[in-house]
């Protein structure tokens, strides 16, 4: 493939990765920012979202869009409720002790994974996209008659992938509005800044924690619902989003939402471009190297505030 079309394809693929990643990483970042909990089970919320999407779409007959919309509404809710419940049942009992919550969320990871294996089974299951047209993209070429358009082999995207990019952007704007413009967002920000003072001012910190943990998981689940018509639901699919989310959150700055989006774009696009032109393994190596560099030279992340 020629360089130009090749690069365009890489950028488009990278944008899809970045969109999903920014939603998933946003959930992880929110939970860490407000609760100071490193949620190792975050990838399993992603997996549960995908599996539930498969299950919900299987329940309704008719046009695939009906099932998809239903899945987009219910799967994040169910996953969020499960996460909020596990916050009440497990994390709260540990007083959000940083070390013990890591161990506890590792336990939650295995419970989610094995329960899914025992019920849903080991197979990868497809979800039909609500719409999916292949859109061939044209490219300019200089011929004897001057510049002409042509359609290079393989340069294409599907309408569904474009929708994923748009949907992720819309959801991110919505989250930003909720956090900056609503009372719920105010409570979250107050709890994030100083949970003890917030409690002294009558903010129900326990409830805020449960809600934030639920929202964090629901965001991962929503990302999974968006991605599952492209990939398939599988009980081991939570590993990669977890790893990439950690990379994004560390680079962007723990708890910084704009930083998370910027880092997700950076990692998603570089992953897309490097893996198309070189190898996917090299893309992972560079992402990990970037994490190491950030930790050495700017431990608070690109947009994180230094701890005082």
């Amino acid at each position: 493939m020629e360089f130009g079309p090749h690069l365009l394809l890489a950028v488009l693929e990278g944008l899809v990765t970045a969109s999903i990643l920014s939603l998933t990483a946003m959930g992880l970042s929110l939970v860490f920012g407000v609760m100071r909990v490193v949620n190792v089970a975050h990838g399993e919320a992603f997996m549960l979202g995908a599996v539930l999407a498969w299950w919900v779409t299987g329940l309704v007959a008719g046009h695939p869009a009906v099932g998809f919309v239903l899945a987009a509404l219910t799967a994040p809710l169910i996953v969020g409720a499960l996460a909020a419940a596990s916050d009440r049942l497990v994390l709260k009992r540990l007083n959000y002790d940083p070390d013990r919550t890591i161990v506890a969320t590792i336990g939650l990871l295995y419970i989610a994974q094995q329960t899914t294996l025992m019920t849903f089974g080991p197979d990868a299951r497809p979800v039909e996209p609500p719409f999916n047209q292949r859109i061939a993209l044209p490219w300019l070429e200089r011929t004897e008659e001057g510049w002409t358009w042509f359609y290079p082999w393989g340069l294409s995207i599907t309408s569904y992938k474009l929708f994923v990019i748009a949907a992720a952007a819309a959801i991110l704007v919505a989250i930003w509005l909720v956090i900056t413009r609503t009372r719920a967002g105010l409570l979250m920000r107050a709890t994030q800044q100083d949970s003890e003072t917030a409690q002294a001012f009558g903010i129900p910190v326990g409830t805020v924690y449960s809600v934030v943990f639920g929202i964090g998981a629901a965001l991962a689940a929503l990302g999974a619902v968006l991605v599952v018509p492209i990939q398939q639901a599988h009980y081991l699919m939570g590993g990669e989003p977890l790893l990439l989310s950690f990379i994004v959150v560390i680079i962007g700055g723990l708890g910084s939402l704009p930083g998370t989006v910027i880092a997700a774009l950076l990692i998603g696009l570089s992953d897309g471009i490097i893996s198309v032109f070189f190898s996917p393994t090299l893309a992972k190596i560079i992402a990990t190297l970037l994490v190491a560099m950030v930790l050495v030279f700017r431990p608070q992340g690109l947009l994180g505030k230094a701890q005082t």
């Binding site: 080991p122 393989g154 398939q232 081991l236 996917p280």
Partner: protein
């Protein structure tokens, strides 16, 4: 007695098997010992091989039930002891150890993924535990493993691709781009198909290796050179459907000829949404998933015993597709173990060497209920079986066999003589 951990599943299975054995008590009384013959089944219950593991299990249970109905082996009932290897080589070796020392199994059996076989076989040799793999990998016949490792139930990759190459070169095209998983099994495909297509006057113009845990594939397809006439694909793992779908989206309406190993779609329905572009493409199949017009009575009986329908789906759930092109290997292998134990008068672990010698002495394995999907020819020196291979074309969402390569098409010169190795 050391404190040991037995998982619930194997305990339940053990209970079930014991109850079954009790119920059949009278039928086994003529044997000197009515204690069961224990077959350790190294199952990919979790990990990237889990879809195969589940169907290998179903096939194994069906084959064991049939053997027990016929009176067992040497008058003794057969008991399948299951351990999950997580499709992980390190765990695989540990599982063999459990079979040998904890469960006191007579033989181990049933591994598919080549990296698990390669990781486990040396331990089988050390434990002197006969290890019957159902893996397709060329590592048995290449001489890489040892005298305790045998593959009598399924043809190896080298033989498969050798018998496919003439069809590809003569009917589809001579410039081939290969897409394969980046581990031993994929490398077998790469090496032996490159050689086989060169022998037919063709060439491999690009080799695209994909990590086995990859979930997104569009990024690899730009490496396919424009001159490609045929895509040769063989993928495994949970993301196979994504792979095939994204390949269709990449090419759109102007695709080259496509020849794939059904591994790329095992456990996936051929009429899944997004796979319409596969219409008119070709697949290798070890056994045809969709019942053909000339289906034998044995194939029909085999489907009934395992519980799959004419489209290779579970009779309970038509959305649950089996790994039909591979799983017969478990059925065949258990019957080979039975024949070997009977020929050698096998009584216990002391007779393991005699069992291996008895299997090594086997040659023709005719079509019949013991080998319901096709006859095989076993080479005792290389420990490898050879069977007929099929090429199916997707026509109206059906896999229709258009070419069957004979056993002779897949034969190659011996690369090892395991019978000269000591026990």
């Amino acid at each position: 007695m050391p404190l040991t951990k037995i998982d619930r599943r194997s305990t339940l299975l053990g209970l079930g098997a014991s109850a079954g054995a009790l119920a059949m008590g009278t039928r086994f009384t003529h044997a000197q010992s009515a204690a069961p013959i224990k077959i350790g089944f190294q199952k990919h219950a979790t990990g990237i091989g889990a879809a195969y593991g589940r169907w290998y299990d179903a096939t194994t249970q069906a084959a064991a039930a049939r053997i027990n109905e016929m009176g067992g082996i040497n008058g003794r009932p057969l008991e399948i002891v299951i351990e999950d290897d997580g499709t992980d080589p390190k765990r695989g070796a540990e599982v063999l150890e459990k079979f040998a020392s904890q469960h006191e199994c007579d033989v181990a059996f049933g591994t598919l993924f080549s990296h698990v076989v390669i990781g486990s076989a040396p331990r089988a040799g050390e434990l002197k535990l006969p290890y019957f793999v159902v893996s397709e990998g060329h590592h048995v016949a290449s001489g890489m493993l040892n005298r305790y490792t045998l593959q009598p139930g399924i043809t190896d990759v080298k033989s498969q691709v050798q018998s496919m190459a003439p069809f590809v070169a003569n009917n589809l095209g001579k410039k081939v781009t290969m897409i394969y998983p980046d581990f031993a099994f994929g490398h077998d495909h790469r090496d032996y198909f490159s050689a086989a297509i060169a022998a037919q006057g063709g060439e491999v113009v690009a080799k695209i290796a994909i990590p086995p845990t990859e979930t997104s594939f569009t990024r690899y397809f730009p490496q396919i050179p424009r001159e490609t006439e045929v895509i040769y694909h063989v993928m495994v793992g949970p993301a196979v459907l994504t792979f095939v779908k994204e390949m269709g989206e990449f090419f759109g309406p102007s695709r080259p000829e496509i020849f794939g190993f059904i591994d790329s779609l095992e456990a996936v329905a051929i009429d899944s949404p997004g796979l319409e572009f596969l219409e008119g493409t070709y697949f290798w199949e070890g056994a045809p998933r969709h019942a053909q017009a000339n289906q034998t009575e044995y194939d029909a009986a085999f489907r009934a015993a395992v519980g799959v329908d004419d489209r290779g789906a579970s009779v309970d759930d038509p959305r649950d597709i089996s790994t039909y092109a591979h799983m017969f290997g478990c059925w065949d292998t258990l019957n080979v173990i039975k024949a070997g134990m009977e020929a050698s008068g096998y009584r216990g672990p002391g007779d393991r060497a005699a069992l291996i010698e008895a299997v090594e002495a086997m040659t023709d394995m005719p079509l019949g209920m013991d080998h319901p999907t096709g006859a095989k020819l076993f080479n005792g020196k290389t420990h490898q079986a050879f069977g007929e291979q099929h090429i199916s074309r997707v026509e109206d969402g059906n896999l229709v066999v258009v070419h069957t390569a004979s056993i002779e098409d897949g034969l190659y010169e011996d690369e090892v003589d395991y019978t000269t190795q000591s026990f």
